[in-house]
Structures are given as structure tokens and as C-alpha cells.
């Protein structure tokens, strides 16, 4: 049998890092699909990229500055309009500790 590129345990670990819960069934399916996809990604190994510089961005932009001028910010009411839970003018977060 072909060596697996990624195991179910690794999929679980990366999903945990990404804060995405998976069901048991999904872990199985994703592991299988990820192995197929990563097999395909192996293709890039044969590209000769010796001393090639990476392209992070297609435009030749370095830094884009703007004038440091004050302007109105969004109304507080609008800021909270989409918040699932709000309390006393704060976003209510789940328990941290």
C-alpha cells in the first residue's frame, strides 16, 4: 500500500490548529481526500525553482502611505448591529479561563 501523506491524527491536529471541529465521519473522508490532493500537489516538486525569488504579490508595490488625517468612524450602534451577543457596549466573548 502507498504511504499516506497525511494521517487521520494529523488531520485532527491541523483542524484543531485551525479551530474547525470535524465529525468522526468527516475525519475519515477528509483524510482520504487530503491524501489525494497532496499526491497531486507533489507535482510542484519537479519545478526547478533553484534561486527564484517568490512572488508574494503581482504588483510592484512596496509601501502605500496615506495622509494621517482623522475622519469619522462608524457609529457604535452600527458596529454592534451584527454582533450575536452584546453586553453593556461590549462584544460578549465565551469564557476564556
Amino acid at each position: 500500500m502507498k504511504r499516506k501523506r497525511i494521517t487521520k491524527e494529523e488531520v485532527e491536529h491541523v483542524a484543531w490548529l485551525a479551530h474547525v471541529e470535524l465529525s468522526e465521519e468527516e475525519k475519515e473522508i477528509f483524510t482520504e481526500q487530503f491524501n489525494e490532493i497532496l499526491d497531486y500537489f507533489e507535482k510542484i516538486d519537479s519545478a526547478d525553482t533553484g534561486d527564484v525569488t517568490p512572488t508574494y504579490h503581482v504588483l510592484d508595490l512596496v509601501n502605500v502611505y496615506r495622509e494621517d488625517e482623522t475622519r469619522d468612524s462608524m457609529e457604535k450602534e452600527d458596529t454592534f448591529r451584527n454582533a450575536p451577543r452584546e453586553e453593556k457596549g461590549f462584544f460578549k466573548a465565551p469564557r476564556i479561563v
Partner: protein, 495 residues
């Protein structure tokens, strides 16, 4: 006589300005058409009928008072649901944003409104623009108006389907790896991905920032150029948008390709491309030759790496971009905070995101994680440089490159959705334009068994003018763009 919803944007603005047609009458006819056909097509997630009718009445008033009106006066424009519309829900076709109402407008929306364009509704798409078929939408798939059992392409499938079904006159899509051009090809419309930086991305819900652009979709090239005139240009709210001297994309459209040099990458017409598609593309190239252009077959040696490199970059950027969805400031949140923050976030993101979005977030996280960064992400960025160099070289000798937009004609809904890799493969001919940032258009160039085929024309950076003129000349000498599918009660085909 043609019904108002059948007209082009150019015809409608002329009639509205000449007071031969009221904006309200035209918008009503579009809304009626939508009610008639969208039940089977599902192009729209939301139709903003009241807002649109009010906007139309305002334009009619302006005209009756002899006030100036904008370049898009009265035109019904469908907007992909990943662009923020103030006061109108913007869902990204995701449960995560099902009840999200943006407190601001995307720059493209502001620009359209300032030219008196009318936003008619928000169109269906693959969730977070991640897909090639519009099947991953939380609101169900869009159906291809040419054959309701088939996909309309994606991810801007709703925008393309709305156009060809005549439920809108212009549309906006976004293109990260082909998401404008693919549905344009599959629905038989025009769709342009502009050069990276030409159109502001402010207010576009991000998927992969370094690859994506908002672009115009229309039924003909003139209308596409008209919408580009309005949405293009520098925006202080998007640091990657570029300042260019004002370009009148419509004024330079001429039916003339004499002396045009066309490069045909042989990799676009290889064994992975369907024979019927190949035939239509060669017929189109033959047409260009007849019109005075010349072509040469060329080879882009690093093209074979582009699809893998594209997916690695797109997934990596997605994993970072979508980290913001924690269900705290906006977005889906489980009803009870059952546990600590980490578990709650993971549950919010499990329910809020569909499986393709989670697949890409997890794979992107993997490609960026310690031990794999150099092997996947950095390697993909280096390949990006190689492909850019290839394109730069070849476009010194040619004015445009041509090939199919999609390697195969539209397939059946459900046919590939269980096999992510097979779906990714469909993007093989569209991703190079995103990797390089170059402009690319898809136009109507044929049919195979009643299913549309699209011709892709890729140009030099910020040379949309040549791309559009090349497309325009083909359209002027063919009639593929005039064909419409049989839909609705009033369109029963004579047997």
C-alpha cells in the same frame, strides 16, 4: 418588439435618457421576469425589489426634471453576494454570514450608485467563492438555464445565470481562480477578470487577496466595457488598487483585428480538453485569421505546475483570511457557550462553514504550518514567479493569448461534487491569469449539443483595451452572443 428585459444596457440607457422608456417600467419588467423564471434557476439569494423600484422612480424624476443622469442610468445590476451592500444582507452563500447586514458599501457599489445603476439583487455563489459549480451554496445550487440538470459554473454562477436568463442586464462577479470566466463560459455570457489592481476590492469579502479581482459580466462586450469604465480605478480604501489615466473602454471598441498577433498555448488544447471544445476554439481562431489576425502555437513550459501552485496559495490565504470568523463580532454563533472559547470557536466554525470551506481552511493551515511552509507555500510562490516570467516573455511577441475558458462543457449537478480534486482540475485553464494577475475575458464562441463553450482571451497587464477590442471584433462577426435558452411561460419553443 423586444421586451425591456431583453435589451442591452447600451440600448436601455439610451431609451431611458430619451424618455422612450421609463426606468420604472424597465425595472418592473426585470422583476417580473425574475419571478417568472428564478424558481427553477435559483440565480438570486435575495432580490431587492422595493429598493430597486424606488431607485428607478428617482431616476425617472431626475430625467423629467431635465437633470443629468449617470452612465448606468436605470440599469438593473445583479451583484454577487460576497460584495458588501449597506443595509442589504450579504451572506457569501454561507450559514456563517446568513444574517450579516453590512454597515457600509463596497467601493464598486458606491461607484455603480453614483452612476445611477440599480442594484436588483444579490446573486448565488459557491460558499465564500470556493468552487467551480455554485453547488456549495448554503442556499442550494443554481441551475444552468441552458439545461436545468447541469451546473452554471462557479463561483459567480448566480450572476452569469441571471444574465443569460434575462433577470438582470449587467452583473458583478469576483474571480479568484476563474470564478467570473467559468460561469460566463458555462452560461454563454461575457465575463472579464481585470488586471489585478484595476478594480478596488474594498468591501469584497476576502478569500485569497493576492489572486482575486471584482469584474464586470454582461451579455455583450460593449456592456462589459461600460461597466468596467464605472468600477475601475484607484481607491484610497484599497492599497493594492492602481491609479491609471482615465480609460474609456467603450470608446476604443472597433471591429478590427488586422495585424493582431495571437499566441495559442498548446497546453490549453492538450489531452485534458474535450474534442468539441477544441473544435469550437480552432473555429474561433480560424475566424480571427479570416479577419486579418495571425496566430502561432506556443508552449508555456511551467504551466503544468500552475494548478497545484494556485491551490496551495489560495488555500493558504483562505486559512488566514477566514480566521476572522469567530462568531464574536458578527457571524454564526452556537446558541450556548457550552465550554471554553477555543471549543466555542471550533463549534461556530463547524456549523457556520460548509465542508469545502473547512477543507480549504484546514489544507491551507497545513501548507503554512511549521515543516511544510517551504515545501508547499514558498515553493508555490516561486512557481508563481516562473509562470509570470513565461507570460511576460510570450506576450512580448503576441498581443493576446487564446484558448478555451473551460476544458469541458457544463456537466451535471452532483456529477463531481463528491470528488474535490476532480473539481479543482476544471480550473486548470483559468488559474494562470490569477497567478500572473493578467487580464482575461471569456466570450461566447460555440455550442456542443446545446451547451455553451467559451473562448478565453488573455492580455497584457492593464491592457484591457486590447482584450476587449479583440473580443468585440469576434462578436461583431458571429452570433453566438445573441442566442438565448428556452425558459419560462412566454418562451415555449415552437415544436
Amino acid at each position: 418588439m423586444a421586451k425591456p428585459f431583453e435589451l442591452t444596457a447600451r440600448e436601455i440607457t439610451a431609451k431611458i435618457k430619451a424618455q422612450e422608456l421609463k426606468a420604472e417600467e424597465y425595472i418592473s419588467s426585470i422583476l417580473e421576469r425574475e419571478r417568472e423564471v428564478d424558481g427553477e434557476i435559483n440565480a438570486y439569494i435575495a432580490v431587492t425589489d422595493e429598493v430597486a423600484l424606488n431607485a428607478a422612480r428617482t431616476i425617472d424624476k431626475k430625467i423629467s426634471r431635465k437633470e443629468d443622469v449617470g452612465r448606468l442610468a436605470g440599469i438593473a445590476i445583479a451583484v454577487k453576494d460576497n460584495m458588501c451592500t449597506k443595509g442589504t444582507r450579504t451572506t457569501c452563500a454561507s450559514e456563517m454570514l446568513e444574517s450579516f447586514t453590512p454597515p457600509y458599501n463596497a467601493t464598486v457599489i458606491e461607484k455603480i450608485r453614483s452612476e445611477d445603476g440599480v442594484i436588483i439583487g444579490k446573486t448565488n455563489m459557491d460558499e465564500f467563492a470556493m468552487g467551480t459549480t455554485t453547488e456549495t451554496s448554503h442556499f442550494g445550487p443554481t441551475r444552468n438555464p441552458w439545461d436545468l440538470t447541469r451546473v452554471p459554473g462557479g463561483s459567480s454562477g448566480g450572476s452569469a445565470a441571471a444574465l443569460i436568463a434575462e433577470e438582470a442586464t449587467l452583473a458583478l462577479g469576483s474571480d479568484t481562480g476563474g470564478s467570473i470566466r467559468c460561469p460566463a463560459s458555462y452560461c454563454s455570457t461575457v465575463g472579464l477578470k481585470p488586471t489585478y489592481g484595476l478594480v478596488s476590492r474594498y468591501g469584497l469579502i476576502a478569500y485569497a487577496n493576492s489572486l482575486e479581482q471584482i469584474g464586470p459580466m454582461a451579455m455583450d462586450v460593449y456592456d462589459c466595457a461600460l461597466l468596467l469604465n464605472v468600477i475601475g480605478g484607484y481607491d484610497p480604501m484599497d492599497g493594492t488598487s492602481v491609479s491609471l489615466p482615465g480609460k474609456g473602454y467603450t470608446t476604443n471598441l472597433r471591429d478590427d483585428v488586422k495585424g493582431l498577433r495571437i499566441g495559442v498555448p498548446i497546453e490549453f488544447l492538450g489531452e485534458g480538453t474535450d474534442d468539441r471544445v477544441k473544435k469550437s476554439i480552432w473555429d474561433a481562431i480560424q475566424k480571427y485569421e479570416d479577419l486579418g489576425a495571425s496566430y502561432n502555437e506556443i508552449s508555456l513550459s511551467n504551466l503544468e505546475f500552475s494548478l497545484a501552485a494556485y491551490y496551495i496559495v489560495a488555500m493558504s490565504e483562505a486559512s488566514s483570511n477566514l480566521a476572522r470568523y469567530d462568531g464574536l463580532r458578527y457571524g454564526y454563533r452556537v446558541s450556548e457557550d457550552v465550554s471554553d472559547w477555543s471549543t466555542v470557536y471550533s463549534k461556530n466554525r463547524r456549523t457556520g462553514f460548509g465542508s469545502e470551506v473547512r477543507r480549504r481552511i484546514i489544507l491551507g493551515t497545513y501548507a503554512l504550518s511549521a515543516g511544510y511552509y517551504n515545501r508547499y507555500y514558498l515553493k508555490a510562490l516561486k512557481i508563481r514567479t516562473l509562470i509570470r516570467r513565461d507570460f511576460e516573455e510570450v506576450l512580448k511577441k503576441f498581443d493576446v493569448l487564446m484558448g478555451p475558458t473551460m476544458p469541458i462543457p457544463p456537466f451535471e449537478i452532483g456529477e463531481k461534487i463528491q470528488n474535490p480534486l476532480a473539481l479543482y482540475m476544471c480550473d486548470v485553464l483559468t488559474v494562470p491569469a490569477n497567478i500572473t494577475g493578467y487580464p482575461a475575458i471569456s466570450i461566447q464562441c460555440g455550442f456542443a449539443g446545446g451547451l455553451p463553450i467559451g473562448l478565453q482571451i488573455i492580455g497584457k497587464p492593464f491592457d484591457e483595451a486590447t482584450v476587449l477590442q479583440t473580443a468585440y471584433s469576434f462578436e461583431k462577426n458571429t452570433d453566438f452572443h445573441e442566442r438565448r435558452p428556452t425558459l419560462g411561460h412566454s418562451f415555449k419553443s415552437p415544436i
